[in-house]
Amino acid sequence: MSPTAPPRRVLAWSGPVLAALIVLPFVVPPYQTVLLSYGLVLAIAALGFNLLLGYTGLLSFGHSAYFGVGAYAVAFIVKYLKLESMEAFLLGGILASGAVAAIFGLLCVRYTKIFFGILTMALSQVLWSLAFKFFWVTGGSDGLRVPTPTLLGGLVRAGNDKFEFLSHRYYFYVLAIFVVAVAVMWVIVHSPFGRALQAIRDNETRAEFVGVQVWHYRWVAFLISGMFTGLAGALWVPLNGLTTPDILHWTFSGKMVFFTVLGGFQTFFGPIVGAIIFNYLETYAVGHTVYWQMVLGIVLVVLVLALPAGIVGTVRRLLPRPVRAV
């Protein structure tokens, strides 16, 4: 068996989970399916983000940049190229966020720790202020509208009921891409490249000694991370119907850090769980109180003080050894 293939116990529980996700739209109300779509999209962003935090040991506080570039790339494709194909959106989102990540990464990977965090944040704020100020291009704080796309090269269309489209066809589309993204990321982190990243994370000097070209590996990790996050941004826009500068602001980066740590950044599946739970938490907090930020803040403070390993990390610690597959 190749070293990148997932162990049997991971397949044993991920199979049923996937089956449940496929059946779900037929049992729960459509609103729940749309809500879960948001969660899955954030989970893709979290996967990308955690390649840097969990596997390379770099805490970015500017990943809103790549999510936002992915989303704005889609809006520009609609505005200037008049396309409405989701595949074009995804391609555009990945390429644009990849290009930005390639440039920003080149500047940022020379640093680590707090300097890396501040530099990524400053660069993401440049994009935010441009999106905010150049309203004739970006719509300013009103943002840009994005109509419902056609899927699979025009084979699947939205029809009249937008909500029905989002809660069924688009949900399955998001789910399929989510599964592919998880599989690709699994292969990446278990490949020799992923091992090298972890070696850098654990001991930079030693990694350099055994011949790992540290900055080059970090840059590639940064690039992949940005592209995953950009993909999430591109998938997110049709759900939201609108892209605004909020998703470029550094506080959105903060939320990405939040849900990655909520799930547990030292595990592969932690960020996915964290993103989905965070999405529910935020949605219900916003729906029930104007003080939702306080609810999130308190959860975060309690989490950091009491459960630093995150949800998945804590569950794994509590489980008996043989089941430790998560």
Partner: protein, 295 residues
């Protein structure tokens, strides 16, 4: 541009620099001593602004004009922010000093979210004004322009605060202990310095400065939700340019940001903020430790 206009622009730049120095100086002091980047620092600035605006509003009652004694209320916000800091450091930050810095950043981010809503809870979603203090001082004429006297007062307060802080850090016993702890916490501790106490004092002082920044600017700008988050990023720009942990650096950074911002508003309003963030990025790339920082 004639001389009078230039003077007005320079004064505006200085006004902005004074407030930025108060915020960023506090941020830098806290980082220098404790190695913590406090993401909630901007909220302490906002808290100071709100408390002062609230106090002035209560003192005014139904009156429309401010009497002179009400200027004594300006430090109230700063003291409130300092008290808040004195409570937060031992309860939330102290348990985390031995942990990875990711957690320290995260807890201050959680604190940012909480404080933002605490202010909404206490003072509601609408802006709070203290403009009576701003108007009562009247204005003076520079050439053909009219300039508010209060702005000059803010510049003076900023200057006095910078001088006071310098004297405090370099001319008092407490300053010696503070600098010693900042340079080598373990050694200072071994020599009998109560590090926990120095940390809470440094954090309180940093919060006091942020609160003072909010207090002095609130008569001119009012207190609104979200002002803290915006101010934090600009304070980052200042400390990154000047050097994280350096007070002199914060002063130079604040002056540069003040000048660029004033020039930006006049000449390139669309990219004013982008230029500021890019300045920070460029300084980080050329001199990661900032102009006066130590790595």
């Amino acid at each position: 541009m004639d001389l009078a206009t230039l003077v007005v622009h320079l004064l505006n730049a200085l006004l902005y620099a004074s407030v930025m120095f108060l915020i960023a100086g506090g941020l830098s002091l806290i980082y220098g001593v404790m190695r913590i980047v406090n993401l909630a620092h901007g909220n302490l600035y906002a808290f100071g602004a709100y408390v002062t605006a609230w106090a002035v509003g209560r003192a005014l009652g139904t009156a429309t004009e401010a009497s002179l004694w009400m200027y004594a209320l300006l430090p109230v916000g700063a003291v409130a922010a300092a008290l808040l800091g004195a409570v937060l450091e031992p309860t939330l930050l102290r348990p985390l000093y031995r942990r990875a810095e990711e957690y320290q950043l995260l807890i201050t981010f959680g604190l940012l979210l909480i404080l933002e809503d605490v202010m909404r809870l206490l003072w509601g979603p609408y802006p709070l004004q203290a403009s009576a203090l701003y108007e009562a001082l009247g204005s003076l004429t520079i050439g053909e322009s009219i300039y508010p006297t209060y702005n000059l007062a803010v510049v003076v307060i900023g200057g006095v605060a910078a001088a006071g802080l310098w004297a405090f850090v370099y001319r008092t016993h407490f300053g010696v202990v503070l600098r010693a702890t900042s340079q080598n916490m373990r050694m200072a501790s071994a020599l009998g310095v109560n590090v926990n106490r120095v940390y809470v004092q440094a954090f309180t002082l940093g919060c006091f400065m942020a609160g003072l920044g909010g207090s002095v600017i609130v008569p001119q700008q009012g207190a609104v939700l979200g002002m803290g988050v915006d101010a934090l990023i600009l304070a980052f720009v200042v400390v990154v340019i000047g050097g994280l942990g350096s007070l002199e650096g914060a002063l130079i950074g604040a002056l540069m940001v003040g000048l660029v911002r004033e020039a930006g508003i006049t000449f390139f309003p669309e990219i004013e903020l982008a230029v500021l963030y890019l300045m920070a990025a460029v300084v980080l790339l050329i001199r990661p430790a900032g102009i006066l920082g130590r790595a």
